[in-house]
């Protein structure tokens, strides 16, 4: 029997076996008393150009068929249970029957698929939409008042703990106008070294604010700065030509 085997033509070993059973025109249950299993083993063993990945399943089936064949020749081993569910012959016949039904259903499904593919849908329209509408829920005067009460409680709580609001702290710490006033006050008595302006451990915020205050005073012409050389201390002096000092 000339049979050129292409593993890609079959959906695995069960498909090939069913194909052979179909050719032999026998019932699935008669597979072992027919030539089909021998044919299968011959086809698989003769095919040389088989991809190992695909071949493994075909070869495994060939091994199962050989096992079944050897069992039919040898007397059953004494340990073997007589549970028919556990003998490879019944297992294989069952699997073949299962798979045959699965193929039958697949063919029916293919018809459904074909019919459904004749239903054409349409692409969504590019529909111009108005701006999205937002509906606010849970808006009540009670809610509004509750929000207020919460806020007030937070406020009062802070006052009770003696915590001044953040803004007052910022006010006391660093502000350009405040530092301007301070520089002017300190230079009243004479010249002042730039480094003396800073506190012992000045924060970045303090340095920046002080420097801005200094630049502002220079711009306003209220201060003069001098330096002996590039590495020397910067010295600040009140600009005496300035008629009206900032602080009175």
């Amino acid at each position: 029997m000339a049979f050129i085997f292409e593993s890609k033509e079959f959906q695995g070993p069960l498909d090939l076996l069913l194909h052979l059973i179909g050719n032999a025109k026998i019932n699935i249950a008669d597979i072992f008393v027919s030539q089909v299993t021998d044919q299968y083993i011959r086809i698989v063993s003769q095919s040389e150009a088989m991809d190992m990945e695909e071949a493994s399943e075909f070869i495994q089936m060939a091994a199962t068929l050989l096992l079944i064949k050897s069992r039919s020749i040898l007397p059953p081993s004494p340990e073997e249970t007589e549970n028919p569910d556990e003998n490879p012959e019944a297992t294989l016949i069952w699997q073949l029957e299962e798979y045959a039904r699965c193929q039958q259903l697949a063919a029916q499904m293919q018809d459904f698929e074909e019919a459904a593919s004749r239903l054409f849908s349409k692409l969504p329209d590019e529909y111009p939409l108005p701006p999205p509408q937002i509906e606010l829920e849970g808006l009540t005067l009670e809610g509004l008042i509750a929000a207020f009460m919460k806020m007030q409680a937070r406020f009062l709580g802070k006052e009770k703990e003696g915590l001044a609001p953040n803004r007052v702290i910022r006010l006391d710490e660093y502000s350009v106008p405040r530092f301007m006033g301070e520089i002017l006050r300190k230079t009243k008595r004479g010249s002042l070294r730039f480094t003396d302006l800073f506190s012992e451990n000045p924060s970045r915020n303090e340095v920046v604010t002080l420097f801005l205050a200094l630049l502002e005073l220079l711009k306003l012409g209220k201060l003069r700065v001098s330096q002996a050389h590039s590495q020397a201390e910067i010295v600040l002096n009140r600009n005496n030509k300035e008629v009206q000092p900032l602080e009175t």
């Binding site: 937002i134 005067l141 919460k150 406020f155």
Partner: protein, 187 residues
């Protein structure tokens, strides 16, 4: 109807096509004269007038397109763009209380009372149409002034701003706050 089946076929083609199509193209493909096609299209157009139909024909020159019926546009929009339901966050509510009682008010003034940045909540209230930009304060930087809108009144079931509940005691006074914030800036 004289051309029942032809009407159905044309509807089918126009539906799948989506775009406009020439009468001549239909005539050629279906093996009919332009006159027959035109008759069928007229019948189709007539049938679409019925309330139970959601489609209509757009005809221009010798072209034809199936489109949705304009009468039902609002319903289409309702499905394509459902109304979004949202509620206000605590911080948005607080900001709204302040704007409601102290309008018109600038962002800086609201922040002075709440003690935190309010750009985001003002923006969100503004997007929701509860407050609006009503001008600029004639002061340094000319900051934007916010006030509540008519939508605000309707959302809270108020007829006028006078219907707002009486101000509970100790409500932070804006003028004070403004003063404070000015001090910060000018100190």
């Amino acid at each position: 109807m004289k051309h029942e089946r032809l009407c159905g076929i044309i509807e089918s083609i126009l539906f799948v096509c989506g775009d406009d199509i020439q009468l001549q193209t239909l005539a050629d493909a279906l093996g009919h004269t332009i006159e027959t096609i035109t008759e069928a299209v007229d019948e189709l157009e007539q049938a679409y007038l019925h309330d139970s139909r959601g489609l209509m024909l757009k005809r221009f020159n010798d072209r034809l397109q199936l489109v949705s019926k304009s009468d039902y546009a609002t319903y289409v929009e309702r499905v394509l763009q459902p109304v979004q339901r949202q509620s206000l966050s605590q911080s948005a509510l607080e900001t709204l209380v302040i704007v409601a009682y102290r309008q018109p008010i600038t962002r800086q003034e609201v922040e002075a009372i709440r003690g935190v940045k309010c750009d985001y909540s003002l923006q969100s209230l503004s997007n929701k149409g509860l407050i609006a930009d009503v001008g600029r304060k004639e002061t340094l930087g000319r900051p934007i002034l916010y006030a509540t809108t008519d939508d605000f009144l309707s959302h809270f079931g108020l007829r006028t701003l006078k219907d707002l509940p009486e101000l509970p005691a100790n409500f932070p006074n804006t003028d004070n706050s403004v003063q404070l914030s000015m001090e910060i800036e000018q100190a």
